[in-house]
Every structure is written in C-alpha cells, then in structure tokens.
Symmetry: C2
Subunit: 207 residues, 2 copies
C-alpha cells in the first residue's frame, strides 16, 4: 500500500462511489463482484477500477472477482471511515434540513451531531433528532462533541464569516454549499458541493 499522500484526488473521489455500491450489494447479500460488474453499474472503465483498487493492494481474485465484505472494510480503512467522524452543520434552512434527513452517508460513519443557525427564529427547532443551537454555542459544542468536519449551508453573504467561525472552533475540513470560494488556512481542506456549476455547465451540452 502506497503512502496516503500519493493517492490522487481523483481516486479518493471514486472510492466513496465504489463504497456506496458495495454497501448496496452487501445489503442484497451479494458476496463477490467483478470489475466488469462494477464498471457497468458505475459507468466506469473496468481497467480503471482494477487500477484504483490495486493501488491499495491486490484484492481481486481471477474468475471470482472482489469479495464485497473485504473490499468494504478496505475502502473504509483507506478513507478512514473505519472510525466515526462527527460533523456539524451551520444553516437550518431547507437545504440544512435536507442534509440532516439525508441518511445515506450516516451508514458510512459520518454523522451530523450538531446544527447551528444565526436566526433566533430557528434555534430551538428540532431537525431529525437534533435541536438547532445558536451560533454562540458553536465553539463549545464542537469541542465537546469532537466535531472534525463542518458543513456550510447558509447564503453566500454569510458563508465566509461562518467558515471563519468553524476554523476558529478547530474544524479540520469544510463542505461548502454556498456558491463562493472560501478563504481558509492551508491546513483546512474545503470541498465544494456546488450544484449550480453542475447545472449551468449542462446548458453547454444542449443542442
């Protein structure tokens, strides 16, 4: 297995896609899968899949394929999802609610453990099993609940300020839904969940 810094971003982004499908197979009690099956189902090149997975050691067996359970464990290890990672969310609007209720990733050991909103009208409300907290409690709660990832689901105008608060509270990584580029220290990794980019770029491909 190569050292973590050698794994390309493209591979790291494909691993959750493999994982999700493998979990589907596991729930249907399917125990082995070939790179061909994975490729057809995920619209990826089977050779690419074999290369990605070989990167982390040789798991496939000729004529049998990959053992689903083993591969799930291995990908979780690689993604460091063999531990629980606590997540906090700022912004209890429709998007925030959708994210809290979205349970797909909770089975992958990612858990939203706290929700914050700047609006007094929102604090005290219940979303899923969580009570929306005021921003004043952010720092303490993030420390107490050992939150490592922050999700920003506030309007663009507030996103940078909210990111600063996450960083000050010790969050190590941010998923940003606001359509602006955030300024954060180099030690904090930011991923952008920017659906407007995906949507606008679709227009290009229309006739």
């Amino acid at each position: 297995m190569k050292s973590p810094e050698k794994i390309s971003e493209a591979v790291v982004r494909r691993l959750p896609i493999y994982l999700r499908y493998l979990l589907q197979l596991q729930s249907r009690e399917i125990h082995t899968v070939s790179s061909q099956d994975l490729g057809t189902r995920l619209n990826l090149n089977p050779a690419q899949i074999r290369k990605d997975l070989a990167y982390f050691g040789d798991f496939g067996r000729k004529g049998i394929g990959y053992e689903v359970d083993y591969l799930i464990d291995k990908i979780r290890q690689i993604l460091k999802l063999d531990r629980t990672v606590n997540v906090a969310l700022i912004g209890a609007g429709n998007l925030g609610r959708a994210l809290c209720n979205y349970t797909a990733y909770q089975s992958d050991r990612m858990k939203i453990v706290a929700v914050f909103d700047a609006s007094p009208a929102k604090t005290g409300e219940t979303i899923s099993t969580l009570i929306v907290q005021p921003m004043e409690e952010l720092s303490t709660t993030i420390g107490l609940k050992e939150v490592r990832i922050g999700i920003i689901a506030v309007p663009s105008a507030e996103a940078q300020q909210v990111a600063d608060q996450f960083v000050a509270a010790g969050v190590e990584a941010i998923l940003n839904f606001a359509p602006i580029i955030l300024k954060v220290p180099e030690t904090v990794r930011v991923h952008y969940a920017d659906f407007t980019t995906e949507l606008l770029s679709l227009a290009y491909y229309l006739e």
Copy 2:
C-alpha cells in the same frame, strides 16, 4: 474560436465559476479584472485562467485585464446561457424546496418552471411561485413549457423511474441529486450533484 466539441469538460465546468464571480463584480460596478485577481479570488492559477479564456478568443488586454461586461456576455454565449433554459424539478421535499428557493442561478437564465411530486400530500402546495404538480402532468407540462433540463431530487429508490419519465417526456439533460448512477440514452447528458461523495472523501484528508 474552436468548435464546441473541442472544449474539455474541465473548462466547461470552470466557466460557471468565472461567470458567477464576474456577475458579483458587475453588481459592484467593477468594470475590469485581471487574471491575477480572478486567480486569487477563485483559487485558480492565473495562467490556467488566461488559457481557458483565450480558448474562446483573445479578450484580455495587457495592463488592463478583461472587460467584465464583455467577458460575461462571451461566457454566457459559450455556455449557451444567452437564452433562457427552462428546468423542471421532481421531488418537493426539503432539497427540492431549497433548490427552488435558491435564486443564484436564476440570474443566469436557468429557471425552474415546474415542480412535480408523486405524493398526493405534496401536490397543490406552493413552493416559491410554483404549484407542485402530480406526476401525471409531467409529460404535458414539459412539452408546453419547453423544459430542456430535469432535476431529480427524490430518494434513490425512485430516481431511475423518475429519470425514465424525464427522458420519455423529451428532457435533454438531467441533474441528479440521488446517490445512484442513472441509465439513460447516450443522447441525454447526466450531471451528478453528489454531495455525499464530496463529504466522504473529506474524511480521507483528516489527520
């Protein structure tokens, strides 16, 4: 200007990011911008930006930079956003509501003109200025309102069926929020707005 099929996906995905920032500059009545400014603000390499923009013709002027208004028009033309593109949404849950209320892309000529939901409890509700319609009206409405792009914001288990209905109704492109890979004809382009992949891959970068 090169022919459209020569523009790489990576470039097409960066153009909406440029456009959004240029629109911010325009609203602040800033008339010119350098590739350095763009690079700093968008966390992109200025040389990359110059290369991207030169792709479509030589707009920048040395020592002055790019004219904001002109660049906006040009990028809109390239992305084919100099016309209005009508969009329909299936799924009137929290995510669907968030998308309808999310006005950022409406200024870019993308407009959600219809919302559908399979649940009778949802139909008839108002979201933003739209009334949630039953699925039975999908085909007719898409024809009448000249919808070209469909957004899927339903649970995974229903996403493929909903995609089939969009395709049958004549939609040319799909933005899919459900965390599954869709099977569609080759003529229909699908983009994935898959925040769980972004979120899960963040775990890898934690210490």
